[in-house]
């Protein structure tokens, strides 16, 4: 099995425990409900406009599958073309190696400050924290990332990391943390955006080094692309002398024409817009236009491990649109922090354990963070069958734990009992004779309020109605006799 990923990919406590705590934050739940419902409606509207949406999904899914199956070839092709145009390619086995490469490249420039475009890959490897230990200050320039950074907070969504904060909370963070800010700042989003513009303008104009992620790399041309809204991406990709991009190896697409599919799928799935305001494409170094010192770090960090799982492989098709979390009933209530990892929501519940191994930290609890309702699969623009992979990973988790304990757990005993009861009609019939006992336990209220042992989880937030006097099978045979 290839090496596991490291960095910010871990659930630090069992998901139910984290979820329970997060559910107590009623303000966050209100914010999330508002935001996820807004985006769902927008997404449905713009997706419904395209008569060929399903054909685009089919193409997107097949392009990704084919790219993953020929990944070695695609990466080498990309490297050749990017290098031919003056770019420099670096390879990083894991988070530590990527952090070191980026740090060394920054140090070579003599700069102690960098501007950053929002990037999941650098979030995953904990680049900002690493740079801080090396005396390099990283400035997040995406509005939501800025809110998170100024608020000393953690991202809770892959597209809008500050989704758990409402406008008033954002204003309060700006008033408290921005060195120069209008004290009469209101909580109007337009005013908040303007405050961010003023705050970052000088940084952009003076920056010598920028760090970005990439939404895709095109193998046949050596081109990289960044999809964004605010123009902070364009600032970082255009004005500095040095540009360092950190990108997961799964982001490579075979042919440049393939972006005609993904640039229809991605904006509509993520922000519910027909197109995002800005997309930048660059191929190595462009003479006389933009950074002249251009690097890319190709990051594995557990991705080859995902590739090795034939049931989980398609999780690498993810284009990070966040549609799955916006429609997920679990995410909507617990928020992103409950998942621990950089990747929350349904995709995170499969991606994190696949990248790290199911037995790492509490990542084995993530595949259970779902009701398996399938909304994520329906929304996924590249048709990743998330529910199926969740079930597969639950199996892996059970297998991983089975060997560890000598004494069977309550769950093992329950399963054994279930297997006996459901194995034969006679056996279940025997058990059904005990139904009146359940009525007795329910008492006058006709509700069972507390079950023992691990079954207590079921009655933690609901009652069980008293069982009927007799089972359906008994009733049926009585009916037949009386006829």
């Amino acid at each position: 099995m290839p090496a596991p990923g490291m960095g910010n990919l871990f659930e630090q406590e069992p998901f139910p425990q984290a979820a329970h705590r997060e559910l107590g934050n009623t303000q966050m739940r209100k914010n999330l409900r508002h935001a996820t419902h807004t985006i769902r409606d927008k997404r449905l509207r713009v997706v419904g406009e395209l008569p060929d949406w399903e054909q685009l999904r089919d193409a997107g899914s097949a392009i990704k599958n084919s790219s993953m199956i020929n990944l070695e070839e695609r990466l080498l092709e990309f490297e050749k073309n990017f290098t031919a145009r003056g770019g420099v390619v670096h390879w990083a086995r894991d988070a530590d190696e990527a952090n070191k490469i980026v740090t060394d490249l920054i140090k070579e420039t003599g700069s102690t400050e960098v501007v950053k475009v929002k990037s999941m890959a650098t979030q995953e490897i904990g680049l900002n924290e690493h740079l801080e230990t090396q005396g390099i200050e990283a400035f997040e320039t995406d509005l939501a990332e800025l809110i998170v950074q100024l608020g000393h907070d953690k991202p809770s969504h892959i597209l809008v990391p500050a989704i758990h904060k409402n406008r008033t909370e954002v204003r309060d963070i700006f008033l408290k943390e921005m060195p120069v800010v209008d004290p009469d700042l209101t909580d109007e989003p337009a005013r908040l955006a303007e405050a961010a513009r003023k705050h970052l303008r000088k940084k952009f104009l003076a920056a010598k080094v920028a760090i970005s992620g990439a939404n895709f790399a095109l193998a046949d041309t050596g081109t990289l692309g960044v999809v964004e809204s605010e123009g902070n991406g364009r600032m970082c990709l255009t004005l500095p002398e040095t540009l360092i991009t950190v990108m997961g190896i799964e982001k490579v697409l075979p042919k440049w024409e393939d972006i005609e599919v993904f640039m229809q799928l991605l904006p509509r799935s993520s922000t519910g817009e027909r197109m995002n305001p800005y997309t930048s494409l660059w191929t190595g170094v462009s003479e006389d236009d933009g950074p002249q010192n251009v690097h890319i770090v190709l990051l594995d960090n557990g991705r080859s491990r995902v590739l090795a799982d034939k049931f989980g492989r398609s999780a690498l098709n993810c284009i990070r649109c966040s549609a799955c979390m916006n429609v997920c009933p679990v995410y909507e209530r617990t928020g992103g922090h409950a998942y621990g990892s950089t990747y929350p929501g349904p995709i995170g519940a499969i991606l994190s354990p696949l990248m790290t191994g199911i037995e790492a930290e509490d990542n084995g609890s993530l595949p259970y963070a779902s009701s398996l309702c399938g909304a994520c699969y329906e929304a996924c623009p590249v048709k990743i069958n998330i529910p199926e992979i969740l079930v597969h990973l639950r199996g892996d988790d059970v297998d991983a734990n089975r060997g560890k304990r000598k004494i069977p757990t309550q769950m093992d005993l329950l399963m054994k009992g279930g297997s006996w009861a459901l194995g034969k009609g006679k056996n279940i019939g025997l058990l059904e004779k005990a139904l009146p006992l359940g009525r007795l336990a329910a008492g006058k209220s006709k509700k069972i309020k507390k079950l023992p042992g691990i079954a207590a989880g079921w009655t933690q937030s609901r009652d069980i109605p008293a069982p009927p006097n007799k089972s359906f099978r008994d009733w049926w045979s009585d009916e037949k006799e009386s006829k």
Binding site: T38, R197, N232, V261, Q264, R274, M275, S280, S286
Partner: protein
């Protein structure tokens, strides 16, 4: 073993049992039958939705419209390949700055410039997207980014309906910028607000007969 060799080795062994790649079904729309008027109508609708200013004009009206759009500007930058006739009606008070090879404007100079005028390479009606490809009439990426007001000329002959129709008209190895409205953000409560770091005002002139 180098990191590259090791990663490629991991990929190889991970895929040892993988089936061959399936054929890619490309049954999505790749051509359209819209008339010029329908294309204009659709593009205008999308751009207005993005809160861009839009005018549909004839080529002869360009100088007057450019002058009208830039009425409030104190200075304007333009790429060296731009038809300077388009700027001929600008009032004398507006400083004109050319950005050309060998005499590039600095970032600080661009920051002090209030507006920019460029042409464009191809536009997609269905998504309201204008693509700049760095040709001499569009210039370096920085000039259409730093000034706060972008006046963009879109020849009607460069409008297509679908993104796949735009692809053959582009050279991807050029630095490309796709613009769909003024800069915006959805980061606060997932509601779109126009105007962050890129130009906060985008005026598009759709020009017939160009």
């Amino acid at each position: 073993m180098s990191a590259k060799e090791e990663i490629l080795g991991r990929i190889r062994s991970a895929l040892a049992d993988a089936p061959a790649a399936e054929d890619i079904p490309r049954e999505y729309r790749t051509s359209s039958e819209m008339s010029e008027e329908q294309l204009i109508e659709m593009l205008v609708d999308r751009l207005v939705d993005y809160k861009a200013g839009v005018d549909v004009i004839d080529a002869a009206q360009i100088p007057a419209l450019v002058a009208a759009k830039l009425g409030q500007a104190s200075s304007v930058v333009y790429p060296h390949g731009l038809d300077t006739g388009w700027l001929s009606a600008l009032p004398q008070g507006i400083a004109r700055r050319i950005d050309e090879p060998g005499a590039r404007l600095s970032v600080a100079e661009l920051d002090e410039t209030s507006a920019v005028v460029t042409s464009s390479a191809v536009s997609i009606a269905e998504s309201g997207t204008i693509i700049l490809d760095g040709e001499p009439d569009q210039g370096r990426r920085a000039i259409s980014l730093v000034p706060d007001h972008h006046v963009c000329i879109v020849p009607v002959s460069t409008i297509v309906q679908l993104l796949p129709e735009a692809m053959p008209r582009l050279t991807v190895t050029r630095p490309l910028t796709w613009i769909s409205g003024p800069s915006a953000t959805s980061d606060i409560e997932l509601e779109r607000v126009e105007g962050v770091h890129g130009p906060r005002v985008l005026d598009v002139l759709l020009v017939r007969g160009l």
